[in-house]
Amino acid sequence: MRYWATVGGHEYSIEIDSENKIVIDGTPHHADLQSIDGATLYSLLVDHESYDLVVDREGDTFRILLRGEMYTVSVEDERTRRLKESGPLQAPSGEVVVKAPMPGLVVAVPAQEGSSVEMGQGLVILEAMKMENEIRTPRGGTVKSVKVTPGQVVDQGQALVIIG
């Protein structure tokens, strides 16, 4: 996933491959970011350099306190950048098929056909590996079709819900 972060007038291109492998402006780094208090305080180790940071976030704008100085950083991801480049904001379109990421038992189906859902809203509760897992929609839209019912056993990759 690629991001662009702007701070102090300078833009950095940041690719995040895994949790720890990061490429900043073409240079690879090892990063380890930990939340200290579950809220605003973070500890970053990047290539073993240690930083204690306090982060206030408002949307895509971050106010970061580091060693007594305040930095304001704005972040874009590929989608927001593309949208910005292609002109006025457009709603995402096309159908999304939400599939079972693992085999399991359908415990509940909060999704209702015809209802509108917001990004991240739960669609199906799937029990697998003795845990209940909430399957959520990757974007907002309308529930076009619900393919499963409670009590049903599904295979990995099986379609659960279609979002339009």
Binding site: V54, V73, M119, R136, P138
Partner: protein, 503 residues
């Protein structure tokens, strides 16, 4: 010693006095406005009484209510702190009538020092040098003539002055009439008295002040000087003890100390007070004014002398003789204080209100924090923006500077803008480090850099991107363990908990 002391103040100075009382075994009574029910001074005192709504004029400036609380609670003394009623002679007069001890000078000494021109004349008679200017109280219209004799540039100052009000710098004769009119209006509005006087401008001067202690038995000592030249609009930002100039000139320190004691004696002073001087580049010094209260910056003196000034104030007020003679006073090492205020140094030091969402105070060797705030506290615009004082002690000035930098890095206040970035940059300034500065340094020769350091820019960019990435992953995650999905819980927390379970 007293049994119970009422502290007629709030914020860090109220805590400072409460702690001194606790260490003397004296009970404490706090007073508070409706804005301060949860403030630290209310919580740290033994007793607390509500005295009115948030505006100071309805609470912390209400002499009648404070005296009433002192009576009800059985307090036998009142400590005024600094600000609010500390330099209002009506307050010690009301205390006297109520037969409660005022921890400070007699009202007559406050009145005498409060008339800046009269104080100037008094100390001049006692043989203390004053800046050339008005020699006696004269009507404003005759000041034009005095100005001609004194020469330009000069200051027009309010007789009842303080805090930079009614103060005008006049560079040339043609500016004088407008300056006089404006200063008169301002002084009239601020103090109810428009009287003005004139002082020649001392170029490249330092603000050096001496801490004086005087008991009720006629004994006077001084605790050395404080260097307070780093100011912005006549507000002190950083103070030190000792002054680099006097460290190199022990004789000058002795002469200034003697002058300070002369000035205090001439004013009939009792308790802790401060004599402010201007010190020019040729090491001539001039009496500026006398402060008849505990100063904000008293801790730097405490750090180099080992004397607890607030406890001495209480001892003096309870009638005891000074425990120290001048020869007992030793100066060890160097102390620096940064006034941490809820102000935005990048935006004309405008006050910043809000809730302190995260607070970490520095600690470790040589570090002292005098703070009036706590995590979760709402900083309102009702009161002074000073939230804390960060004080360090070092074996040498260099060690103190390095320690202050370290302490400022450790200091985390989130939720309101603070002066910490200003202090960090000031301490990195080579002129400051070399001790080359005067009272105009901050305003005329120090530029706060808006630039963010390149490397830290990259680090903060990375952190922002990582958090954005995690948020996005969280939002998009098609799967997440259900029991962990407590509202408001961050993905980081989850990672930590899972790792902990796997161990």
């Amino acid at each position: 010693m007293f049994k119970k002391v009422l502290i007629a103040n709030r914020g860090e100075i109220a805590l400072r006095v409460i702690r001194a009382c606790q260490e003397l075994g004296v009970s404490t009574v706090a007073v508070y406005s409706e804005a301060d029910r949860n403030a630290l001074h209310v919580r740290y005192a033994d007793e607390a009484y509500l005295i009115g709504p948030p505006p100071s004029r309805d609470s912390y400036l209400r002499i009648d209510k404070i005296i009433e609380v002192a009576r009800r609670s059985g307090a036998d003394a009142i400590h005024p702190g600094y600000g609010f009623l500390a330099e209002n002679p009506d307050f010690p007069r009301a205390c006297r009538e109520a037969e409660i001890v005022f921890v400070g000078p007699p009202p007559e000494a406050i009145t005498a020092a409060g008339n800046k021109l009269a104080a100037r004349l008094t100390v001049r008679k006692a043989g203390v040098p004053v800046i050339s200017g008005t020699q006696e109280e004269i009507p404003d219209d005759r000041l034009v003539q005095v100005a001609q004799e004194v020469g330009y540039p000069l200051f027009v100052k309010a007789v009842a002055g303080g805090g930079g009000k009614g103060l005008r710098l006049v560079a040339a004769p043609e500016e004088l009439p407008r300056a006089l009119a404006a200063a008169h209006r301002e002084a009239e509005a601020a103090f109810g008295y428009g009287g003005l006087y004139i002082e020649k401008v001392v170029e490249n001067a330092r603000h050096v002040e001496f801490q004086v202690l005087a008991d009720a038995h006629g004994n006077f000592i001084h605790l050395g000087e404080r260097e307070c030249s780093l100011q912005r609009r006549h507000q002190k930002l950083v103070e030190e003890a000792p002054s680099v100039i006097l460290t190199r000139d022990e004789k000058l320190r002795a002469r200034m100390g003697e002058a300070a004691i002369k000035a205090a004696k001439a004013a009939g002073y009792v308790n802790a007070g401060t004599i402010e001087f201007l010190l020019d580049k040729d090491k001539n010094f001039y009496f500026l004014e006398m402060n008849t209260r505990l100063q904000v910056e008293h801790p730097v003196t405490e750090m180099v002398t080992g004397i607890d000034i607030v406890k001495e104030q209480l001892r003096i007020a309870s009638g005891k003789k000074l425990r120290y003679k001048q020869k007992d006073i030793r100066f060890v090492g160097h102390a620096i204080e940064c006034r941490i205020s809820a102000e935005d140094p990048f935006n004309k030091f405008l006050p910043s209100a809000g809730r302190i969402t995260s607070l970490r105070e520095p600690t470790g060797p040589g570090v002292r924090v005098e703070s009036g705030v706590y995590e979760g506290m709402e900083i309102s615009l009702y009161y002074d923006p000073l939230v804390a004082k960060l004080v360090v002690w070092g074996d040498t000035r260099a060690e103190a500077i390095l320690r202050m930098r370290r302490a400022l890095e450790e200091y985390q206040i989130v939720g309101v803008k603070t002066s910490i970035p200003f202090h960090r940059q000031l301490l990195d300034n080579t002129s400051y480090q070399a001790g080359h500065f005067d009272t105009r340094f901050v305003e005329e020769r120090f530029v706060l850099s808006q630039e963010e350091k390149a490397h830290h820019g990259e680090v903060t960019a990375l952190v922002a991107a990582l958090i954005a990435h995690h948020r996005r992953q969280e939002a998009l995650a098609l799967i997440s363990p259900r029991e962990d999905r407590a509202p408001g819980m961050s993905p980081w927390k989850l990672t930590g908990r899972r790792e902990a379970m796997e161990r």
